[in-house]
């Protein structure tokens, strides 16, 4: 029984309420609007929107909706190592392309 109590406190010191997530959703909708707006201006802006606003939106979903904010360091490290690995593959591919 004591194990059960311990476990509950480990994850849920304080649960975020409805309001937090609704605010994040509003931010996500606004960012989507900005992304669409930028893509209407020009191709260059569209690519900049893709490179800046899209990771920001994904970050908000990871951090809040997927509760990474409320997790310990291990989960964050797992995600960062994965993203780092993908980035290495991306860099390797384009370094190959650049010197072909």
């Amino acid at each position: 029984m004591s194990e059960h109590v311990e476990q509950a406190s480990e994850h849920s010191t304080e649960h975020p309420g409805y309001g937090t997530f609704i605010k994040v959703w509003v931010a996500l909708v606004i960012l989507t609007g900005c992304l669409v707006g930028m893509s209407l201006i020009s191709q260059t802006y569209a690519v900049w929107g893709l490179l800046t606003l899209t990771p920001l939106k994904a970050g908000l979903v990871f951090y809040f909706f997927m509760h990474l904010r409320y997790e310990g360091p291990l989960f964050k490290v797992v995600v960062l190592v994965t993203l780092g690995t993908l980035l290495i593959f991306f860099a390797l591919l384009f370094s190959d392309v650049a010197f072909r």
Binding site: M1, H4, Q7, A8, E10, H11, S12, H15, P16, G17, Y18, F21, I22, V24, W25, L28, V29, T32, L35, V36, S39, Q43, A46, V47, G49, L50, T54, K57, A58, V61, F62, F64, F65, M66, H67, E71, L74, F75, V78, V79, T82, L83, T85, L86, F89, F90, L93, F94, V97
Partner: protein, 200 residues
């Protein structure tokens, strides 16, 4: 029944995250393939992208973002033992997920109608860059669509378990993990929208 069932919620979530990481690598590989092909065929990708329906793409983005919100609100409701609310939120998520699929099927249907589908005779007459564009479009949105179907199936079970009290305020790890999967499906679409509809 006095709480002696062994449970490791932390381990369950870690396992789920490790699975999600493999999904990220799966789609990440496709994103890298896309970026190289786009670099190689910029004009063809631009032309291919201009044939996609931006309005439907943006509507589907809003649909999925909202469905992500309702899943996370369902978890809050379960934590607070607000069962009816949790059921309503999960039900809304399922409806939104199905809405996404219906819109996607209209989009694909329109492409099929114009002779654009994998290994179609019309596609073979297009320049190689556009063939690659539509190949990636169908592969990535198709694979994503399969994930949406899987997510709807998982969340349907979660809804059933909330309704039958198998998921409740002191035990909701399955709902959390199902929600994590659904959010990842949402994140993937967050990237697919600009890649295909906006910045191509």
């Amino acid at each position: 029944m006095s709480g002696h069932v062994h449970r490791d919620d932390f381990g369950s979530r870690l396992g789920m995250w490790l699975f999600l990481v493999t999904e990220m690598v799966l789609f990440g590989g496709l994103f890298i393939a896309y970026s190289y092909m786009r670099y190689r065929y910029p004009a063809e990708f631009h032309h291919g992208g201009s044939e996609l329906n931006v309005t439907l793409g943006v509507i589907n983005t809003l649909v999925l973002l909202t469905s992500s919100l309702t899943v996370v609100l369902a978890i809050v409701a379960v934590q607070r033992a607000e069962k009816q609310r949790a059921i309503a939120f999960l039900g809304t998520t399922l409806v939104l997920g199905l809405t996404f699929l219906v819109i996607k099927s209209f989009e694909w249907g329109a492409k099929f109608h114009h002779g654009l589908y994998p290994s179609s005779p019309h596609l073979a007459t297009l320049p190689p860059g556009e063939q690659v564009f539509f190949g990636l479009y169908f592969t990535m949105t198709g694979l994503h669509g399969l994930h949406v179907i899987a997510g709807i199936s998982v969340l349907s079970v979660m809804l059933w378990w909330v309704a039958t009290d198998r998921i409740r305020s002191d035990r909701y790890i399955h709902l959390e993990n199902g929600g994590l999967y659904w959010h990842l499906v949402d994140v993937i679409w967050i990237f697919l929208l600009p890649l295909f509809y906006l910045a191509a």
